[in-house]
């Protein structure tokens, strides 16, 4: 069971290169044929570069390892559900950017759940900075640890 002592813990910063192949693959996976993801000249003219899909920062999974995670203070990963996800954007992110991400435990809350009994909510925040040192985005995830193993 996670507890409040995890709040404020941060993981090791990780690097994420924004690669055009991954952007194209991701846009196809979410069924978005918008030419701005596929036509470099058009994207450059309209936006100044090839943009990334709104939820593309999820691909940070390819750039992180256990050291980038702040350590979830005893969270049982077999009983974890992804409850909520939020992204805030402060500056554009383009193909070719090199981002640095740092994940921290923002909060740990206890809640009375329905089927699963007592739930613990773990809220993590990952802040992304680009190669110019500009803060570009914040990704906030709410993970739910249920009181017992999750069933369908």
């Amino acid at each position: 069971m996670a507890d409040k002592s995890a709040v404020g813990k941060t993981g090791k910063p990780f690097t994420m290169h924004v690669d055009w192949s991954k952007v194209r693959e991701f846009a196809r996976a979410i069924k978005d044929p918008n030419p701005l993801y596929f036509d470099q000249a058009l994207a450059k003219k309209e936006l100044g570069g090839v943009p990334v899909p709104v939820t593309f920062l999820q691909t940070s999974a390819f750039w992180t390892d256990e050291t980038s995670s702040p350590g979830f203070g005893g969270f049982d990963l077999r009983r974890i559900l992804h409850g909520e996800q939020e992204f805030e954007f402060f500056k554009p992110i383009f193909v070719g950017d090199t981002l640095t991400g740092v994940t921290k435990v923002a909060d740990v809350l206890e809640k009375q759940g329905g089927r699963g009994g007592k739930m613990t909510l773990l809220i993590t925040e990952t802040e992304y900075t680009n190669q110019k040192g500009e803060k570009v985005a914040l990704a906030r995830a709410t993970l739910i640890e249920t009181g017992q193993a999750v069933k369908a």
Binding site: A29, I30, K31, E46, V54, T55, K151
Partner: protein, 140 residues
Amino acid sequence: MAAKLKFESVKVGDEIPKFEVKGVTRPDFVRYAGASGDFVPLHYDQTFVEAAGIPTVFAQGMYTAGLLSKALTDYVGIGNVRRFQVRFATRVWPGDVVICTGKVTNKVEKNGEKQIEGELSVLNQKGEPAIKGSFRAACA
């Protein structure tokens, strides 16, 4: 495309044009797993899910959220989303119809920018919510 909505012409209550996927498939989930790096086996490994007492694989929440984000950027233009938030409700199963929609609930000026705020939802063919969410986006 990237064109911003005109702030003056957007009204509170305006609806985001529906984006509907008529039957999501297991290959859709596999493709999203590869694209995103989310390899939780619940979404593609039938042997694994049956052993866990679940009848079949189901969609990654963030796959469905990705479809919803496409509905949003089709409306507000790519590059204009300032905030995107989703909360997961019922699971999405292979064959489900996924209906992404939303509406404008507020018009604001924030950080010197004209912006709209709104709610988002993904419903299945039974009208059950798979996702409830919200957004903020820049306008011209």
